[in-house]
């Protein structure tokens, strides 16, 4: 199923889920799950898990599973898994839920992950976390893409309808073997002649809501388990008895499928990395600051209390960010360190010379060491970006040095570099935009 903006709703998700599970188990070999539980601080454990997971995902990048297509936009399973890992890094509440689930199991059976069957249980908890996260992420993607409100639950409902349609289409295709069930779906007995509806059903757009409702209603009779609209769960309460809502959702899935199937990759898609739009963002803020439209504010379902205090979160993080004096200045050790990680001896001074000290980032990160600054770019924009000066590249790879190389250049451990990098990013997030 594809909807505007969504990336995790196609059959490739199964492989994304498996890859995240397998790489998480690898990560838990290197980081004991017990070390992730309270009282270890939330932010540190989240960063540690995401970084270890990301390394494992990078290492798996060339496997057949990771390289397979993950969705119809040309994103691979590996890219989608990595994207979700980074989403988790920005959503500490989801991490908290995982830690709570882990702690509860740990209280029941201490160190359960080391016991027989414990690995499967650990994997299941990871699966649960990412399964919820993908719908949250896609609900947000959908809203950003088309401007209509959408909840994770609504994404789940779309997917249920899509699956139901798939089931109905399958039954229709084999209608001779399933005359009774097809009859229950159509609401009239089916005899030996081909029902016209079976011939007419071409896509989800042609699926009628009453078929979905009758399919769900009669499912228990044919398979022993109740249909999704007929369980005790309140999950689909809002659509359950509303054929109009179901019809609209089916039509939307069908419409977008037809539309996106006809286009090349990534239109209406969150892949555009060009920075031009940020000018529009600053302009909108500036114009409002210079001549705000007098009230009333046109805020959707304004709930002011909910928003209070949001803006201060970044500032608090910045206040905690330690300042790092620029430690390296034409240090003769630089050359030694650079060569130890297979970089040209003059790498740091050349990279420093290629920086624009007057740039916004240059000014904001002036107190950080150069390896920390490069680590910030590595995390935010990736290893290769056409806006990087050549002098920042490792000539061997044509990309920024890796975190391991940068840590060696800075003569700090990898966890320390990560910590400093994340503090620098927190500082940027909270930074006022001055002069540009």
């Amino acid at each position: 199923m594809r909807l505007p903006g969504t990336r995790y709703q196609e059959p490739g998700w199964e492989q994304v889920r498996k890859l995240l599970g397998a790489c998480s188990l690898e990560a838990f070999v290197r980081v004991d799950p017990a070390a992730l539980l309270a009282p270890a601080p939330r932010a540190d454990t989240l960063a540690l898990y995401v970084d270890t997971l990301a390394e494992s995902l990078h290492a798996a990048g060339r496997t057949a599973r990771a390289a397979a297509a993950g969705n119809g936009y040309g994103e691979t399973v590996g890219e989608l898994a990595l994207g979700l890992a980074y989403e988790l890094a920005a959503r500490p509440a989801d991490w908290d839920a995982f830690r709570t689930a882990l702690a509860a199991e740990h209280a029941r059976a201490p160190g359960f992950w080391r016991q027989a069957g414990g690995e499967a249980l650990l994997r299941k908890k990871v699966n649960d976390m990412f399964a919820l996260l993908r719908d949250k992420v896609d609900a947000d993607n959908y809203q950003a893409a088309c401007g209509r409100p959408c909840s994770p639950n609504r994404i789940y409902a779309y997917r249920m309808l899509d699956t139901a349609y798939g089931e109905i289409a399958r039954l229709f295709a084999g209608w001779r073997e399933h005359t009774a069930q097809v009859g229950a779906i159509l609401g009239r007995p089916v005899d030996v002649s081909l029902p016209i509806e079976v011939r007419q059903l071409q896509s989800i757009a042609g699926c009628r809501p009453e078929w979905i409702m009758r399919w769900s209603e009669s499912l228990e009779r044919f398979t022993g388990s109740p249909g999704p609209l007929h369980t005790k769960s309140k999950r689909f309460e809002s659509v359950k008895n509303s054929p109009g809502k179901i019809a609209a959702m089916l039509a939307e899935i069908g419409e977008y499928e037809a539309l996106s199937g006809n286009r090349d990759a990534d239109w209406l898609h969150d892949q555009d990395t060009a920075g031009a739009w940020i000018e529009d963002y600053w302009r909108v803020l500036d114009e409002s600051a210079q001549g705000a439209t007098p009230g009333p504010d046109l805020i959707l379902e304004a709930r002011q209390d909910e928003m209070d205090g949001m803006e201060d979160m970044g500032a608090a993080a910045a206040a905690n960010a330690p300042a790092h004096a620029a430690a390296i200045d034409d240090d003769p050790l630089e050359a030694v360190r650079a060569e130890a990680v297979s970089l040209p001896p003059g790498f740091l001074s050349a990279a420093r010379a290629a920086e624009d000290p007057g740039s916004w980032a240059g000014r904001m990160l002036g107190d950080c060491s150069l390896p920390v600054r490069l680590a910030v770019y590595l995390k935010l924009l990736g290893g290769a970006d056409d806006s990087y000066p050549d002098a920042w590249h490792d000539p061997a790879t044509g990309a920024l040095p890796t975190m391991q190389q940068l840590a060696a250049l800075d003569a700090v451990s990898l966890p320390t570099l990560r910590k400093r990098r994340d503090a620098a990013i927190a500082m940027l997030e909270a930074a006022p935009r001055t002069g540009g």
């Binding site: 980074y86 920005a90 959503r91 509440a93 947000d140 809203q143 950003a144 893409a145 401007g147 409100p149 209406l268 969150d270 555009d272 990395t273 060009a274 920075g275 031009a276 739009w277 940020i278 000018e279 529009d280 963002y281 909108v284 803020l285 500036d286 114009e287 409002s288 600051a289 210079q290 705000a292 439209t293 007098p294 009230g295 009333p296 504010d297 046109l298 805020i299 959707l300 379902e301 909910e306 928003m307 949001m310 803006e311 979160m313 624009d356 740039s359 916004w360 980032a361 770019y377 935010l380 924009l381 970006d385 806006s387 990087y388 990013i425 940027l428 997030e429 935009r433 002069g435 540009g436």
Partner: protein, 188 residues
């Protein structure tokens, strides 16, 4: 106002895009965001605060901003609704040889055809709509600043269209007296 480099813009964009707020939702309607983007209605103070507090709303703004930019790019590319130009420096008595439109895609050449002056409209081959206009042999007209027709015709294979200068005054004098401007327009 700003001299933000591409790398700064990308960094700032990435910083904005990676923010997440638990329970975030769209706080501003598309109509409000679009009116702010086209400058017709700046955000109110409360709306500005909402945009800054809600990463999801900022992402929606990004989608709309990119769509606007995409539409504008598409409009510049292939579609063409006319080009305009002006008579530049005060003419020091020398005969006018040529004029160009502001977008640089068209030139008007003035030649003296044995006592009978002629005007040639020439399309720059690098114009984004050049291929289409040539393929369609579109009918074009050139108007002076007062709206009178200087020329009408179709481009030849070289992207040119030529005819006799239709006015009594020489080109420099004529344009000076008629708005000191000209337009090249498609005839629809």
């Amino acid at each position: 106002m700003k001299t933000t480099s591409e790398i700064d813009r990308k960094l700032q964009g990435s910083l904005l895009m990676r923010r997440r707020v638990e329970g975030d939702r769209l706080l501003l309607a598309d109509a409000v965001l679009l009116a702010a983007l086209d400058g017709s209605r700046p955000l109110s103070a409360g709306e500005r605060a909402a945009l800054q507090a809600s990463p999801l709303t900022a992402r929606r703004l990004r989608t709309l901003a990119l769509a606007r930019r995409g539409t504008r790019a598409a409009a510049n590319d292939g579609r063409w609704q006319g080009s305009h130009g002006m008579l530049r420096a005060a003419d020091g008595g020398a005969a006018l040889r040529q004029l160009a439109t502001d977008d640089g895609y068209w030139r008007l050449h003035f030649v003296d055809g044995a006592g009978a002056p002629r005007v040639i409209l020439q399309l720059a081959p690098e114009a984004p709509f050049a291929a289409r206009l040539l393929r369609e042999a579109a009918l074009l007209r050139v108007l002076d600043g007062a709206g009178a027709e200087v020329l009408q015709g179709r481009l030849d294979a070289d992207g040119e269209c030529e005819c006799a200068w239709p006015f009594a005054d020489a080109p420099a004098a004529h344009f000076q007296r008629h708005g000191a401007a000209f337009s090249v327009l498609p005839v629809s």
